[in-house]
Amino acid sequence: MLSLSAVLFMLALGAVCGTVLSVASKIFYVYEDPRIAIVEGYTASANCGGCGYAGCSAAAVAVVAGEAPPSVCIVAGPEATANIAGVMGLDPGTAESLLSYNTCTGGDRAADKFLYMGINSCQALATLHGGQRVCPVGCLGFGDCVKACAFDAIKIGAHGYPVVNEMKCVGCGACEKVCPKDIMEIKTMSQKLLHLNQYDDRIAPCQQTCPAEIDIPKYIYQTKIGDYEGAVNTIRERNPLLLSCGRVCPHPCEDKCRRGVEDEPVSINQLKRFVADHEMNTGKRLPISVAPPTGKKLAVIGGGPAGLSCAYFLRRLGHDVTIFDAMPKLGGMIRYGIPEYRLPKEVLAWETDGILNLGIEHKPNVALGRDFDIGSLIASGYDAVFLGIGAWKDYTLGVEGENLNGCYTGINFLTNFAVWQQERPHDKRPFIGKKCVVIGGGNTAIDCVRTLVRLGADEVTIVYRRTRKEMPANEVEIVAAEHEGINFTFLAAPTRVLGDEEGGVTGLEYLKMELGEPDASGRRRPVPIEGSETVIDIDMLITAIGQGPDVFFKDESKRLDEDLKLTRWNTIDSEDEIALQSSIPYIFSGGDAATGADLVVSAIGAGRRAARSIHFYLADEDITPPSKTLFGNNIPVSIFESVSGITQLPRTEMPELPVDERIKSFVEADLVITEDEALYESSRCLECCLICYNKDVA
């Protein structure tokens, strides 16, 4: 009797509770992220509070909001952790996996500022004075991240900073959450590719200076330990044209090399060339990962460094990319401007093939404004356009006689020659004079003279209106030209080109200059000397005094004619030189087309920045770069007046072909350093971070 009433009572109570709740759940229904319920289902639901959250549903909310790691539940065990991680979208088929990595390589070598005797917790230490080390942004080394990692993927390495085991890391983000100094970052490959150097990054001066923002210390370290493949992959996170850059880059990074303060800088670019050549010589292309497809279609106009870089990064971010190029083969100015002896075209082809292999379509021999226009691209479903048309239009002197036969302009000459050499070697060779003068002091001028020497010109002279010190060309190029027997006439301003009755060029008249008083910028301005007119006899003249973008396409397209703003140098104007968006929102530009003639590596950096902007533009996100963006500036604390403890170690010299051998042919003049030399040179690197460096190396 008693038990019957008990059963009846319980049934009644259960029925009442159940009915009330089910009715209430209908009446009080509010939408919430369905993942919360699923995640909560995987927790132990014991509401023990052991996780530090107010119960299982609070923990589930925190997990879904990304505030708690999947391993939050201390009762449920590893299986639940895996399930929760699964719910949180770490399915490899639909999303990129997140990986944790440490951004500080300082560790123990960063000097201590305070004596700290508290508990071994970064969190506690950070609360006091922000940490005990001199470095404001560096790792504290107590391993809160290690304790937070439920997957045993992080260890404090031998140098006092965390090392992530990528095989074990699931990207749960627990380490990133607990790190008080934001050392640990959880990023997908795409997020890493999109990152721009910032003022609060832990990066060495070389990396700050590199226009492509390559993680230089990392790849040098990888070279040092023999991980050449790792080094190539590191470079490829920022620069797809490592073979080309390794040959032609004037390496502004080396100017800021910390070893260079006391000693000769590390030969960074030669190391890049070494690992790049190493990959090519093994014949095996390293795999390059690409994000899952986004379904967006993009047009890249121009197959030069900027366009290739932009296309490469957009492709890796998962977009469909087509490169439209006016020339028969990819490479732009580095194929048709830089001569064969500096960058063999076989090497370039290997490099551009590798980029196309990612799944990029290449449409050669089509020029914007001639074969298609922006309107036709948009009509065929492209979501955005990158204009990387370069700067192919030579400036002219504006003096009498410039158009006589035998007068050429720099880019025009180099391109004509390159096309003949590469595409039509059986045709008649372009005209080459016996006594040649090249006007200008930039790389184009040097490329012209060195090409002329190789083609058998008897006498080749550079005429430049300032002195050697002011020449904008790369120092190594000038030196090589000197070795190859080029005459230099400095402080000479051309005034007139002389010709014969048949319209052929016969001489160049120039005015001698002298250096006057320093101007506002502190440089001594060349001023002409009255009555110093001099004539040199020539039969060929090349003017290489600079170049700008050729924007003829603008007249052909109504859409562009009205809206695409240009600067007064005919470059494509963008409101923000980091974001690189033109006055037409879906058109972006970069490289020489946006800045005027500049370095290859700058174009590569611009290509990546434009790719970043386009990626965000397509996702309807803000493309404005973060206010902390470094953009080639240096972080003041990282630039030292002096560097203590440096032992002088000679820099590895670049091997070259002997002069008499190289001037007879277009065989590559600069050679790659040997493996031993690469290991020696990489061991000269101080492995700098923001303010600390490896004193053992010094």
């Binding site: 289902g41 132990a44 639901s45 014991a46 509401n47 023990c48 052991g50 201390i74 009762v75 449920a76 065990g77 299986e79 639940a80």
Partner: protein
């Protein structure tokens, strides 16, 4: 991954000994451990509920829909708690009175629900029994150990079991002149004592 039956049993005794390793189920740990006897009694009651709820959950694990499983587990546990209450009233009434509110509170002990959810609902019957027994005995041992320390210093006694006629255990361990350190059997002593024992466990465990 697969553990043997013995391993499932023994893990509860040290590796995953609930109050110390997981810091779970603390209320009874602190509340009743004034004597060893209370600790053992509470531990055994919990073990009883743990084992039987594990048995029921493990045998019904394929029937209970996962959406309402937590509610089902709670009802199952509550049922066994009621059974325990009734049994204790019948057979060990004085102990039942001493443990007071903590017996019904087994129903909200996170260890019991935690094991049902984390283990019994995923493992076979025999393994669940081994797990329940292991965790329960580990829990009992923890309670007894804490009770022993507290009773020894707080009351100068070590009482293992009281029958209506006699007491099994040692009275006045340190002799009659020992002034009991009553702080230990009172509430603050419970916290401090458990905290220090945890510290000891960490010391031993870290080696």
């Amino acid at each position: 991954m697969a553990k043997t039956l013995t391993q499932e049993f023994t893990k509860g005794l040290w590796e995953e000994i609930a109050p110390f390793r997981l810091v779970l189920g603390l209320c009874p740990v602190l509340g009743v451990t004034t004597t060893i006897e209370n600790g053992i009694g509470m531990g055994l009651a919990t073990t009883f509920v743990l084992v039987f709820s594990n048995i029921l959950v493990a045998s019904l694990r394929n029937i209970i829909p996962s959406k309402v499983r937590i509610a089902c587990f709670i009802i199952i546990i509550a049922t066994f708690v009621v059974v325990t209450e009734l049994l204790m009233q019948a057979f060990t009434y004085t102990l039942f009175l001493k443990l007071g509110v903590f017996i019904p509170l087994i129903v909200v002990n996170c260890i019991v629900l935690g094991r049902a959810e984390a283990f019994a609902s995923k493992n076979s019957l025999t393994f669940s029994i081994a797990d329940g027994l292991g965790i329960g005995i580990g829990f009992t041992l923890s309670l007894a150990a804490l009770g022993a320390v507290r009773e020894l210093f707080g009351a100068n006694n070590l009482t293992i079991w009281t029958t209506p006629t006699s007491i099994i255990g040692i009275q006045e361990v340190f002799g009659t002149n020992f002034e009991p350190f009553t702080f230990m059997v009172q509430a603050p002593g419970a916290f401090v004592c458990l905290g220090l024992m945890l510290c000891l466990m960490n010391l031993v465990g870290s080696k």
